[in-house]
Point group: C2
Chain length 233, copies 2
């Protein structure tokens, strides 16, 4: 992202002729600052400065810094959660393994495409300690439950017996979140990397490689158009 | 941890007769604040207040808030890294699977025992963005490399061919770090949970359950006395 300075001290993220709507610019600038400096250390003044608007204009779009973070966090999980029902219905027509593989792939894409790697913020103290993010935490819990349910369905009897559904779900969700770490290390989340992470989820459920290959073949064409999964503004 | 007020407004964490050394009290109070409020939002004044000492006394032990966090982060990884050589030597006498299982178990114990779940802080922007934590990041990279090396040795040929060593190491380390998430959700990191996480690491390497059971039997007695792995102050 290049910064063009229109006036001294008033950097704009993008030339105004091609600029995203101001609300999106605020979200983008805030995500960059939250991820690099942390949430608490970032002020709404800094966010406004980076966009090149006055602080009052920022408050026209958002009532608080919490609201900005809540919206960003929502975007790191909502596109996945919105597809859970559809993915679970696949279990009937394909296999539980293919459904779990697809859930992982969709989640990896959501995390890979979330602006400025904001998925990294999900477990930060600022988020876990404040009730301003209750709604996000409850959506996230919904995703963890889906992982647990679908993993238990796909797992070998040995793994299903050894792992409590909730813990298995938490582990797989955490495993997929390595996407944010690889991304922040500069590793491109290409098809090979996404496939590796999704396959590892299935291996964690005890599924042998021969069945993983079949699950990957069944699931990959179903990931779908990425744009259709973009969170609404 | 009960708080006994010796003077109004001067809470002490523990009665002074049984108190930990002041330096440890500072670390403990700081860990609690960093994990619940975040690093940036915590002042050295607050840390001193919580211990019941003056801010000047805190600066007798630590030159900065960064130094406190660096020490805490070190304790979330150093006890594991200090055992890497010993664990790798096991590969000769037992099996690569047993060695990897043991690395995971040792790491799970380190994260489970780190004061106030400070392992959670490792990926926070405050840590990843500041060069004050370069030393920690390099120790952590050492651990990721060990995971990659030992996982590649233990993995089935199919997994070893599919997963680049660095990415496999990062994934397994991230998987084990679910310990901090389960811990913050109130899940006790008992032997069953630790065994589940370590087994999942082996499954992620394609190792079948029969061999995982053997690896667990070989590795578990070698975890050793937890106290011997406590970081030096």
């Amino acid at each position: 992202m290049s910064i063009r300075r229109t006036h001294p001290g008033r950097p704009r993220l993008v030339p105004s002729s091609t600029a995203a709507p101001p609300r999106e610019q605020v979200l983008h600038a805030a995500a960059q600052l939250f991820v690099t400096k942390g949430f608490a250390a970032t002020s709404t003044r800094e966010i406004a400065d980076r966009v090149g608007i006055r602080q009052a204009s920022l408050y026209y779009h958002f009532t608080s810094k919490d609201e900005i973070l809540a919206e960003l966090l929502e975007r790191s999980v909502r596109p996945t959660v919105d597809r859970i029902d559809q993915i679970e219905q696949l279990t009937a027509s394909t296999s539980p393994e293919a459904a779990l593989y697809l859930l992982a792939l969709v989640d990896i894409h959501t995390l890979a495409e979330a602006p400025d790697n904001i998925g990294m913020l999900a477990t930060h103290p600022d988020v876990t300690s404040s009730d301003a993010f209750d709604a996000f935490r409850s959506v996230r819990a919904e995703l963890a439950e889906a992982y647990g349910r679908m993993a238990t369905r796909a797992a070998t009897p040995g793994v299903a017996a050894a792992a409590e559904q909730g813990h298995l779900g938490e582990m797989l969700m955490h495993l997929v979140e390595v996407t944010t770490r690889l991304r922040s290390s500069g590793v491109p989340i290409d098809d090979a990397t996404a496939g590796l992470i999704a396959s590892t989820c299935l291996r964690a459920c005890g599924i042998p490689d021969s069945r993983i290959a079949a699950a990957a073949s069944a699931a990959t064409p179903l990931v779908g158009d990425r744009h259709s999964r973009t969170a609404s503004p």
